[in-house]
Each structure stands twice: as structure tokens, then as C-alpha cells.
Amino acid sequence: MAGAACYRLKVFVPNLELIFQVLALSRLPYQLVKSSEEGLRLALSVVFIAGLSQTLSQSVVLFAHRVRPRRFALSLLVGAGLYVFGFLFLVTSIWFVARYAFGETEPLLVVVRAVGLAYAPYLFSFIVLTPYFGSFFSATLALWNLSATLLALSVIFGVTLFQALLCSALGWLLLQVVQRTVGRPVQALAQRARHLAAGRRLEFNKNLKDLVRQGREK
């Protein structure tokens, strides 16, 4: 028992150091994941926890719909799962652009490992909940993540930051096109999963004031 805990700690501490380095915008973590077969689990864990944090930061809609605590927890898990899927779609489109537009040959899994680690700033997404300063924190985290992602792409593809930005932007653009065309059924499925987890139909586009008035009348 103690041995297992010790082992977990031994694995956890270096991982934590790696994440600190990602947060400090160091190139080293990406050099490590490029040359090593390991790191996939860590990268996906970072993205999943970032997804939990991000879903929590957007949980007002769940409270506004008076979702019960168990459903709330389930909704966070489903939200984090969908976030991981969203991440995988984005990375795949970046990889696709890098491969077919820029002739890069790095395998998809290397890009997943590197870009996944670059999601570390989003572990702090929950601070977006801070009243009034939420938008500022949100923009700061997005900028931090973008910087880490560009660094990750520049290391694994061996390109300049500008080329990494181009690759990332085109990948993002490709994802937008896919989402708005053939991706619609997938998005509808994701929305359905959110409603199922919450146990009720969530009206994401409804004004909060209207939801409150509606709730008061019930």
C-alpha cells in the first residue's frame, strides 16, 4: 500500500515539474515528449483536468437550470470528456495541415503529447469564475495557452514561432469548417450528451435574466 503510494508520488512529482516548465514556457518538456514514447497519458490527463476546470468555469448555465448536485458532477465529467474530444479534433486538424500543407512528418501522437501538455495553463480555468474579472482571466489563459502551443509546435516540427502560428491558425480554420459542415451531427450528439447528463434540456443561448424570471415564476 505504502509502496504503491510512494510509486505514485515518484511519478507525480516529475510530472508536476514538467507542468511547471510548460507554464514557464520552457522548450524542454516538448523536447522530452518528442524523443520519448511516454507522455501520452500525462498529456491527456492535463487536457481532461483542464476540461473539468473549464466546464466548472462555465457552470453558471447548470446552476441557472437548477441542476441537482449529482447531475452537476456528471455534467462536469461529460463536459471534460467532450473537451478532450474537442482537443483531439483540433490536434488532428493541426497535424493534417502540418503534414499536407507543410510536409511535416511527425506522427500524430507526438503532436497530441506536445499540444496536450501545452493545455496546462487551462488547468487554472476555474479562476474565470472570479466575478467581474473573469473575462480578463479568460483572455490571459487563452494567450498563455496559445504561447505554449506555438512553442510546442515549433519544437516538435522544428519551425519558427511564426510558422507554428500559421500552422495552428490553419488547423483551427480547418476545424471550424469541419464543425460547420460535416461535424454538425457530432456537435448535436455532444449537445445531447450535455442535456442527458444534466437531466434536462439546457438552453445555452437564453439570456440569464429570462431564465431567472422563468425560474421565479415556477
Partner: protein
């Protein structure tokens, strides 16, 4: 890493965590996770109060230094007494504006002991305890001003104010006007709640802010009037015009600027007066050039406004 850096990092982490957790009281209350049961039991068990004959109801929302509905600040107690004397036809009551279910911090289920200790230390002049109370309540002001949480928080406050009014004999449908006085951070809560309160009681609602920190809240446009009492030496209320972009003059279509243009907002110059304490709005020793004490001038200004609105 040296100790100072670690301390700064821990303090920053604590600050951010406190900020991130601050909306959950209002959100959890709205979702029915906690706080609702006590309200419902109290409402169903309360006998119908005797209808008050008051021609005006005045609700006082204290500043962020407070931990409960019954304010402990000597000067505020004196203000309420002076207003009761000045306005014999009005019912003057207090509501704690930093908790959606009007539950004093010292009456919270899990952290009552912490806030009691903080209050005790504050009264013993331990500055840090006062800072913690102020920070906690300031975050609730920000919750009220935030578009993501404001509708929920302000609806909760409106229900709380309505409950307090009923408890003092207010009858919905009577059309008796209500004036909310928001001191400092209570100003934002007053503005935020007023629009929902107006919908509930179907009567005119006027807001008076005393050194109020007020955002450009859309509810401003639904008010009869907002009288914004401002001292020239009050640096605290200047937080509003600086931190809330809707109050910048360069945004003419913001709620604040529209309400100002429509004459809903009336800024009242209180003279060379500070925010609180010595030389503050409620200081009965400091005097204005016309010989009145700051306290007398404040009571007279508020009294005149309420009489005028009535």
C-alpha cells in the same frame, strides 16, 4: 525561491481561490442546493404581519465592512435613528446585502465561527480581520455587478428585501414607494436588486447611494431615480468610474450614461467629504463650510430626497 516570493504566491493563490468560490453562495442558493429550505420554512411559518400605515419604506444596505443585517457601526446606527426621527411617516429597516438569503456571516452553517472570530478581531482593531471581511463582501459586490451572476444574485437580494418589507408590514399592491439606501458597496447591490424588487412589489423604487460603488447595471434604466451622493474627498467611490467601463464617458450607450442622459441618475455633490470614518459622510464632528456637520448634511440630503420622492 525566497520566502517573500512563496508568501506572495500563496497570497495570490488564496485571493484567486476566494474570488473563484465567491459566486457559489448565490448560485447554490438559486439552484436550491442550500439556503432555500430555511427561507421557505420561515415564510410559511411567519404570521401575516399587520399592514403598516407607513407612507414610505426605506431599506438601508450597509457597506462591505459588515457581517450581519444589524449594522454594528455606531455612525450607521445613528444615521438610521436620525432618519426615523426625520421621517416619522416612513418605516426604516436594514437588510444585509452580502448574502442572498439574508443570512448573516455569523449565522452561516459551516463558517459562523470563522466570521465571529473575524468580527471579534476586527472590533479589537486587528486590521487584517477587517480586510478579510471587506474582501469577502467586496467579492459579493462584484458578483452583483457581473453579468454572469448578477441576475441571480440581484433576484435573491430583491426577494430578501421583499421578505424584510413584508415583515415590517409592507403590502404588495399597496403602491407604497420604496427607497433603498446603499452605502458604499451596498450601492451596487441596491441598484442591482431594485429592478427585480420593482417587479415583485409593483411600486416605485428609488435608490440613493452614499459614496456608492456602482457598475453600469442595466437595471438603472428601470429605476425612478438614482441619487448618487458623492463626497469630493471620497476616493473609494471612484472605484466605480475607473473599474466599470460602462461608466466611462466614451461609451454613451452604456446603461449608466443612458440613465444619466435621461435624468434618472442625479449626482449630488456632498462637498469636501470623505468616504468613511473621520471626515466621512457620517462624521458628526467635521463641518462643512456652511456650518452643518457632515452627518447633519447627509441626513438632511437623504431626508429631502425621500420626502421629495414620496
Amino acid at each position: 525561491m525566497n520566502d517573500a516570493f512563496v508568501f506572495a504566491l500563496v497570497a495570490l493563490g488564496g485571493f484567486l481561490l476566494a474570488g473563484a468560490l465567491s459566486p457559489f453562495e448565490a448560485l447554490g442558493w438559486w439552484a436550491g442546493w442550500f439556503g432555500r429550505e430555511a427561507d421557505d420554512v420561515a415564510r410559511s411559518a411567519a404570521p401575516n404581519p399587520v399592514v403598516s400605515g407607513a407612507r414610505q419604506f426605506v431599506v438601508f444596505l450597509t457597506g462591505i465592512h459588515s457581517v450581519s443585517g444589524e449594522t454594528f457601526a455606531r455612525r450607521e446606527i445613528e444615521l438610521l435613528e436620525a432618519l426615523r426621527e426625520r421621517l416619522p411617516d416612513a418605516e426604516v429597516l436594514e437588510v444585509f446585502p452580502y448574502s442572498v438569503n439574508n443570512r448573516a456571516l455569523t449565522g452561516q452553517r459551516f463558517f459562523a465561527w470563522f466570521w465571529r472570530l473575524a468580527l471579534k478581531l476586527k472590533l479589537s482593531r486587528v486590521a487584517f480581520a477587517g480586510f478579510i471581511i471587506n474582501l469577502r463582501n467586496a467579492f459579493q459586490v462584484a458578483v452583483s455587478a457581473d453579468k454572469r451572476y448578477g441576475p441571480i444574485y440581484n433576484q435573491g437580494m430583491a426577494e430578501t428585501i421583499h421578505g424584510a418589507l413584508r415583515g415590517h408590514g409592507y403590502w404588495v399592491g399597496s403602491g407604497v414607494p420604496v427607497t433603498i439606501i446603499g452605502y458604499s458597496g451596498g450601492g451596487q447591490v441596491a441598484v442591482g436588486a431594485a429592478v427585480y424588487l420593482k417587479e415583485i412589489i409593483q411600486a416605485p423604487v428609488t435608490v440613493i447611494t452614499l459614496g456608492g460603488i456602482v457598475a453600469s447595471d442595466e437595471g438603472l434604466l428601470a429605476l425612478e431615480h438614482l441619487y448618487h451622493l458623492v463626497g469630493r474627498r471620497d476616493r473609494v467611490q471612484r472605484v466605480g468610474p475607473v473599474f466599470f467601463p460602462g461608466r466611462w464617458p466614451v461609451l454613451p450607450y452604456s446603461a449608466w450614461n443612458q440613465a444619466k442622459a435621461k435624468g434618472i441618475i442625479r449626482v449630488v455633490d456632498m462637498g469636501p467629504v470623505d468616504h468613511t470614518g473621520k471626515d466621512g459622510y457620517l462624521d458628526s464632528e467635521a463641518t462643512l463650510p456652511d456650518g452643518r456637520s457632515h452627518f447633519e448634511a447627509t441626513v438632511e440630503t437623504i431626508g429631502n430626497i425621500i420626502e421629495g420622492e414620496g
